[in-house]
Amino acid sequence: MTNAVKILALAMVLALALFIAVICGGYAPWYFAWLVGTTMIILISVSGAVLFETQESAADTDPQPHAGEKA
């Protein structure tokens, strides 16, 4: 039941995203670019931070130096 609600919620988000994409894509391409661009900027910076944690964990478990560091 919980999964069904989650899928329904995600489907609604998807439908909303498609609606915005169609409306904005047709009438306001630069507004749409802003929506997509801002999302992308956030995702890339978040990914960078997550990568940082992965690099830190790898450095803790692996005696090898970080990329670019001298041994």
């Binding site: 507004y31 900027i41 890339i44 960078g48 931070a49 990568l51």
Partner: protein, 540 residues
């Protein structure tokens, strides 16, 4: 009679207050989304350092937000006090986005800011993250409505002049909101704010690394800021191209001034001028000197290789052709206003599209009265009016170049920051850290140059092609204008002083103020280093 000194002081006052205000806006626009990014990492990883990061940068955002609001409120009143003719002429159209901005975006932003600051222990992590995103959305929606209002002044869409009410009447909300100019302005200005925020966070993080304080905090903040900054700068350059193309399509005088084009271009070899000294008095470059890159201008502006770009000589001729029609339109309009004569209305409607040029010619008419123009006066008035339809080329040319040059410089700084951060060797590159630290104020100053480009290029119009700036001002006394200008300048300088004092104070204190319970270690030969608990593993 409109006193030109009062108009100049009104312009100076608005330029001053707008430029003061916009020193706070970009940080708000960008920091909110950066806070959202940091908090997203906190929710994903569960690491408390990202919560502390959101709270610390959120504190600096709070200082900036509060003073930014204070400086912005007065500007909305200025439209009524100093620009009453403008407010009458376009109030129906211009007031709508301003009202939506206040009622929807600003209220939304202000409400959720409270929840963001005080809701950490009262909401789940996910709910608080949603609040932070709503603050970010609210602040940028706030900017959206202001920029829609500004875009109407640059390219009036969605309204039509009504000779009965003597003002612009709303016709299409959709045309106003979805005008190409509004879109290009919003995306460019909003993402320029992201660049400002990224440099702010990267610069302060660099300061911590250089002073060997808050290392773990600074390394993570710098990583997020550098990546946020590099993509934002790429976007702002791309969107700047869109904004420039819009100028070419709807504000050719601005584009010609921006590129210093005295004559119509000869595609495709026309060079893009890197350096020149435009002389407005002689309408040529000083010493005929310029350094340019051939074959760049035409594709850059027109996105083709064969379209000529009209120069100032051609634009002046086009304006001259419209001035006489404009004089007929304004004269017929005045006659219709007094007599309600349908013939006068018909004549006005025939020349209506050139009405703005008639208003512009009033400045040069005897006693500013178009009916007093004699046939012998007409050629001289047409020439002066056509010349007056061109903005100041020197200011436009150089403010645009400063903006573009620094935009590319920021891209290089962020690229080095991101590269060395991703390789975890940023601490071995003190020159990058120094560069980032000293660059903190530059994107904000460059954003101001962007506004100078946009607003100087709109001159001599308050509403492009419809209402000249000198007719839009209120008829205050000179003494009143000097008094209020000095008052605003003093007050806003105090605001800037308060902002700088608080920013320096809290940025220097850092995320963990000195004297906190966190352990300190002092490596041999090095300064004391604050080592928060969560950082212990990395420092080992």
């Amino acid at each position: 009679m409109i006193d030109p000194s009062v108009v100049s002081l009104s312009r100076l006052q608005f330029a001053l207050t707008a430029l003061y205000h916009f020193q706070f806006v970009p940080l708000t626009l960008g920091l909110t989304f950066m806070l959202a990014a940091m908090e997203t990492v906190y929710v994903i990883t569960g690491k408390p350092i990202y919560k502390e990061m959101t709270q610390f940068w959120g504190k600096l955002f709070g200082i900036n937000f509060a003073i930014g609001v204070a400086t912005g409120l007065t500007m909305e009143f200025e439209f009524g006090t100093n620009w009453s003719m403008y407010s009458h002429f376009v109030g129906d159209v211009f007031g709508t986005p301003l009202a939506i901005e206040g009622l929807m975006a600003f209220f939304m932003e202000s409400t959720f800011v409270g929840l963001m600051f005080f809701g950490w222990d009262r909401m789940s992590k996910e709910a608080h993250l949603a609040v932070t995103y709503l603050v970010a959305l609210g602040s940028n929606l706030s900017a959206l409505w202001i920029l829609i209002a500004n875009a109407f002044m640059q390219d009036p869409q969605g309204a039509r002049f009504d000779p009965t009410t003597m003002r612009m009447q709303f016709q299409s909300f959709g045309s106003l909101v979805f005008s190409e100019k509004a879109q290009a302005e919003f995306v460019h200005a909003s993402i320029a704010g992201y660049v400002c925020a990224a440099m702010f966070v990267m610069g302060i993080s660099s300061y911590y690394l250089l002073t060997r304080r808050h290392r773990e905090f600074a390394l993570r903040s710098l990583r997020i800021a550098a990546l946020f900054g590099i993509v934002s700068t790429l976007a702002v350059i791309t969107l700047g191209d869109a904004a420039g193309r819009e100028d070419y399509l709807v504000q050719p005088t601005k584009l010609a001034a921006m590129e210093g084009l005295w004559q119509t271009t000869k595609p495709p070899a026309e060079p893009w001028k890197l350096i020149a000294l435009p002389n407005d008095a002689t309408e040529s470059d000083l010493f005929d000197f310029s350094i340019g890159i051939p074959y760049v201008l035409t594709p850059l502006v027109t996105h083709t290789f064969n379209q000529a770009i009209p120069g100032i000589d051609e634009l002046k001729m086009e304006a001259a052709a419209r001035v006489e029609n404009g004089i007929r339109a304004v004269t017929a309009l005045e006659q219709y206003a007094q007599t309600k004569d349908p013939n006068a209305l018909s004549e006005f409607e025939f020349y209506e599209d050139d009405m703005g040029y008639g208003f512009l010619a009033q400045r040069f008419a005897p006693d500013q009265d178009l009916t007093k123009i004699t046939p012998s006066d007409m050629p001289g008035i047409v020439t002066k009016t056509a010349r007056a339809s061109i903005p100041n080329v020197f200011v436009e040319f150089w403010s645009f170049r400063i903006m573009v040059a620094f935009g590319f410089a920021f891209l290089v700084i962020f690229a080095f920051g991101a590269y060395y951060s991703l390789r975890n060797t940023i601490e071995r590159q003190p020159w990058v850290l120094y560069l980032a630290m000293w660059s903190i104020p530059l994107p904000i100053l460059v954003a101001l140059y962007g506004w100078i480009t946009a607003e100087n290029g709109r001159q001599p119009w308050s509403v492009f092609g419809w209402l000249p700036t000198f007719e839009a001002a209120s008829t205050h006394s000179l003494g009143y204008m000097i008094f209020s200008l000095l008052g605003f300048a003093t007050l806003y300088t105090l605001f800037i002083g308060a902002e700088l004092y608080l920013m320096f104070k809290y940025a220097r204190l850092g995320p963990s103020p000195a004297g906190s319970a966190e352990p300190r270690i002092a490596p041999a030969g090095g300064p004391a280093i604050l080592r928060p608990g969560y950082a212990a593993k990395s420092w080992e």
